[in-house]
Amino acid sequence: MAAEMAVGGAYVPLTPRAKVIEQTLAIARRAVVRTTRQRALIIFPMIFPLILFAINGSALSTATHIPGFPTHNYRDFLIAMPFVQGAMFVSINAGVDLARDIESGFLNRLSMTPVRGEALLVGQLGGALVLGVVQAIVYLLVGLASGVTLVSGVGGALVLLFLAILISFAFASLGILLALRFGTGEAVQGIFPLLFVTIFLSSASLPRNLIKATWFREVATYNPVSYLLEALRSLVITGWNAQALELGFGFALALLVIALGLAGMAMKSRLTRT
């Protein structure tokens, strides 16, 4: 029991802070409730990558005729893109949600309780988790329905879902970091185009070895987003490619750890309690 009745009827925590897990779950529950009650936040960011998938899948389908292209079905190649685009939308949702709490003073209200910064941070990602899971499942189902085949089979589909959710989580952490650093929803939304452009500067539309412009190939090679896409894509096109998966999981985890670590520090300074 985290609290007990004290003389005079006041509830005084036995320890200075309530249990972190309980706090995290409470914050996460709020984040999930907020996400599920704002259907527009789920539907529109989910549809946009699917529209791009449909357009590019049709317009660029002849790219498969380029010698050395790894598949005959361009949609098999392209299906990785919606997962990463969706994850970026998740980052904006998570960031704007927290920024709104900062602007409205809700974070100040939470600061007045014994809540710990870690609980706030991880709990806030609860909404992103829901969004990430829903998006990943929808993208996979739409891909399969449009003729995409996973060479890696059912096991590969599960790994693909897991990696997609991990990527969503990593980008959501980045969104939260931006919210904590800048404190306004407008700032978080303003940074989104910069984030989004990294997809187009990656191997999203063509394999890196087939990109003719040297500068573009160089940028795509140094762009971690390429490796996230290639790991997801490998499960569809080439089967179990250990190197691609290691790089994909590695970059996703690195982004998660770095963003979450920096967000933790930013949260500490944001919770300006004495």
Partner: protein, 342 residues
């Protein structure tokens, strides 16, 4: 610092970078169970003081204890002792009132069964039981303020900070909130630190009032003491003919300190009280000076503010406070003789 004060402040200062001293060496003490009204215009330093006392803003210098705990060194203990409804009712429009209270109860560390009981009791107390499962986005301003108050009370604090709790509320909602605040102090012995820019609010609710202006406390005491300090009632006489202003001033000058207003009207203090009014009427009658209006004024907190600062409280805010002071204009005081039943 004295023993037993619920809130004690010594030479507290908050200076913002490239800004003025929002709070400039204030001193005050609030006894347990007392309602202390912190009255002042926009930008006077009220909200900055509350942010410091609730541990959300570190002071630049000075010292303060809340519930016996130092606000800088014992922040966690201070927060466990207090509830606060800050200037903006910071609520989540997507959540329901009940969800807000359950979240707050969880974060405050109340056990599961107690959370539900406490939530139901507080919803009942603030009259939100029927609206409990509606999203807060659909609440009126008064309902939001009542929920805000309930959230501040979840962990049964001993000390309650209310930062301009009735700003923007309609008279009915304001009155309901006053009743609840008065009840908390009267029935539960809660200490209440209430900031307001409404004279009537301070007059009706507070046991003692501190008047703050430009970061300084310019007067402190009970309303009766503060009013007594600036003298007795005054009478304002407006002659029927503006040209009679000089003659009127001459006739009234024998009664006490006098001030000439526009339209030839003259205000004179009555150190001898209302009984001098009859004599004024007789003198004016004997002098055959026709009067358009004659009004007796009891001293108000606005008069106290005027006497201490040389300005009326209404519209005197200057936005000097760097923190989130309300942007709405101050409301002039409708005088009220109503006192809370304590």
């Amino acid at each position: 610092m004295s023993e037993g004060a619920a809130i004690e402040v010594e030479n507290l200062v908050r200076e913002f970078r490239k800004g003025p001293r929002a709070v400039d060496g204030i001193e005050l003490a609030v006894s347990p169970g007392e309602i202390y009204g912190f009255l002042g215009p926009n930008g006077a330093g009220k909200s900055t003081t509350v942010l410091m006392l609730t541990t959300l803003l570190p002071p630049t210098s000075g010292r303060a204890t809340v519930g016996g705990f130092d606000i800088v060194r014992q922040g966690a203990q201070v927060r466990a002792s207090i509830g606060a409804a800050l200037q903006e009712a910071a609520l989540d429009a997507i959540l329901t009132g009940r969800e807000h209270l359950m979240l707050q109860a969880t974060l405050q560390g109340l056990p599961g069964s107690e959370r539900r009981r406490r939530t139901a009791a507080l919803l009942e107390r603030v009259g939100l039981t029927e609206a409990a499962d509606r999203r807060v986005g659909g609440y009126s301003g008064g309902m939001k303020r009542r929920l805000d108050l309930a959230l501040a009370l979840v962990h049964s604090p001993r000390i309650l900070f209310l930062d301009e709790p009735t700003t923007g509320l309609d008279p009915q909602s304001r009155s309901a909130l006053w009743e609840e605040v008065a009840r908390l102090a009267r029935d539960e012995g809660m200490t209440v630190f209430l900031t307001t820019q409404y004279l009537e609010e301070a007059d009706v609710l507070a046991d003692r009032i501190g008047i703050i202006d430009h970061g300084h406390i310019v007067a402190e005491g009970t309303t009766a003491q503060l009013k007594a300090d600036i003298g007795g009632p005054s009478v304002e006489v407006t002659p029927a003919e503006v040209d009679d202003g000089d003659r009127l001033a001459e006739l009234l000058s024998q009664f006490g300190e006098m001030r000439r207003n526009g339209n030839g009207s003259v205000t004179v203090q009555l150190p001898g009280g209302e009984s001098e009014l009859a004599e004024i009427v007789r003198i004016l009658d004997r002098a055959d000076l026709r009067v358009e209006t004659l009004q007796l004024h009891q001293p108000s907190l606005d008069d106290v503010f005027l006497a201490q600062t040389g300005r009326k409280l209404e519209g005197s805010g200057d936005g000097a406070e760097a923190e989130d002071e309300a942007s709405e204009p101050a409301q002039g005081g409708r005088r009220s003789r109503r006192r809370r039943g304590r």
